[in-house]
Symmetry: C2
Subunit: 255 residues, 2 copies
């Protein structure tokens, strides 16, 4: 499994990913799922990938190769991030087409999702989710984050903290806590974690963070968050019980 | 969709459920999913149901009917909760058998999961999850909670707060927050919410709570929790960025 997320708002973009890949519970390994194709001063291009590893690795390989071998259409030549999203969707379709029949025959999941975030000079920053079918959607002011992979455990913290006006450093903090919540609840999501931060109109990544397995900083942040959540939980008042039922054999009243 | 949970530890049992049922997004209604079959002084028997509504309603109907019509085997005559779990599993198999061919033919999901919690005089309290296939597992000291339905959004708060030594009132508080987190992140889970509390060896439900749509107490608790989580989030330090990369066109270093 995999968990990747992207957050975009007025201040910029934060993207994050875990690195755990598993083929069954007895074959677990670490692979990068967050990739940086930026050209400082001209464009920031960040990608996250989830799904079949052979397909996503093939994608990244061909995207890199096109930068050198295919001048007209590649991650560095296209002048709009929307066109880049279409190009990635097309590429994903081509690679799936090549392998699909062979994988499908043995019931192997060949599908992949991608996040594409960044900014090309002359455009606003944008964040896309590219589906296994090659089509895509875009994050908006109302929905400022997109997730792929094991998305559910890490969504409550995003739902509670992220808005269009959340400062960049808080977006990054939230990305880490969202990744950590997912790791805690699902063993198939794990370190190293990668988080990147991009500030609107800078055309230059501001920060990259890598946290490896056993990193004392990661352990410290997890412990701190657990303590704070625990304190928040303890500060909550106990339930005010409304139906202290004298005859508990009765159904709870509906009205 | 549905979300139900049961928590058991040295102090007792807390169970909770939402009430939203949907057949597509354009047919949403409210049905009870938490049922009380207790006999005060002799046994506490609590059940939650998720899955196909026609099957779960049929189950509850037949379980009630058996109490009057089938003296040897029913929820009030069986003398062990393990036997009750088997009885519920068998009943679920019978009802599925009756409808399965007709539902399967039209690709309608007929599967149901059940939680069974309680205590029968002479035994310890126990909590079971009964699978659609009729087999079941039991919560233990190491895994003191079980969930059915839309389980993921509400799991992080359980993972962070529930142990074998958590007091009953905190278990109830956690159940409410777990239900609320799920409602916030998934529109197919919704009120009324039901929560019940049972104290070990009392053989008598201590509390029942029903929170309806728009209940000001539910709104107050949600707002409080959001404020506390927000404060916890703000108290967390910002990330310590380790790789402030001078040449961001390069990959993030792997080592």
């Amino acid at each position: 499994m995999t968990y990747c997320l992207g957050i975009i708002n007025r201040f910029g973009i934060v993207m994050g990913a875990d690195s755990r890949t598993n083929a069954g519970v007895d074959y677990i390994s670490a692979y990068r799922k967050l990739f940086d194709f930026s050209v400082p001063g001209d464009r920031a291009i960040l990608m996250c990938a989830s799904g079949n590893l052979s397909v996503t690795q093939g994608m990244i390989h061909e995207l890199k190769r096109d930068i050198h071998n295919r001048e007209d259409i590649n991650l560095h030549s296209l002048n709009s991030l929307y066109d880049v999203a279409n190009y990635i969707g097309d590429k994903s379709r081509q690679i799936q087409d090549r392998d699909r029949a062979w994988l499908e025959r043995d019931n192997i999941d060949f599908q992949c999702n991608f996040l594409l975030g960044g900014q090309i000079k002359g455009e606003d920053p944008q964040l896309f989710l590219i589906y296994p079918q090659g089509n895509h959607i875009q994050a908006t002011r109302e929905t400022p984050f997109l997730q792929i992979g094991e998305t559910k455990y890490g969504k409550p913290i995003l739902d509670r903290t992220i808005t269009y006006d959340t400062p960049l450093e808080e977006m990054a903090k939230c990305a880490l806590l969202s990744l950590d919540s997912t790791m805690k609840s699902n063993i198939s999501v794990g370190p190293p974690l990668y988080i990147v931060m991009y500030e609107t109109d800078s055309l230059h990544l501001r920060h990259k963070l890598q946290l490896r397995l056993g990193d004392p900083y990661l352990a410290k942040m997890r412990k701190l968050w657990e303590d704070y959540v625990r304190q928040a939980f303890e500060a909550m008042p106990n339930l005010e019980w409304k139906y202290v039922d004298e005859d508990p054999s009765e159904d709870i009243p509906i009205d």
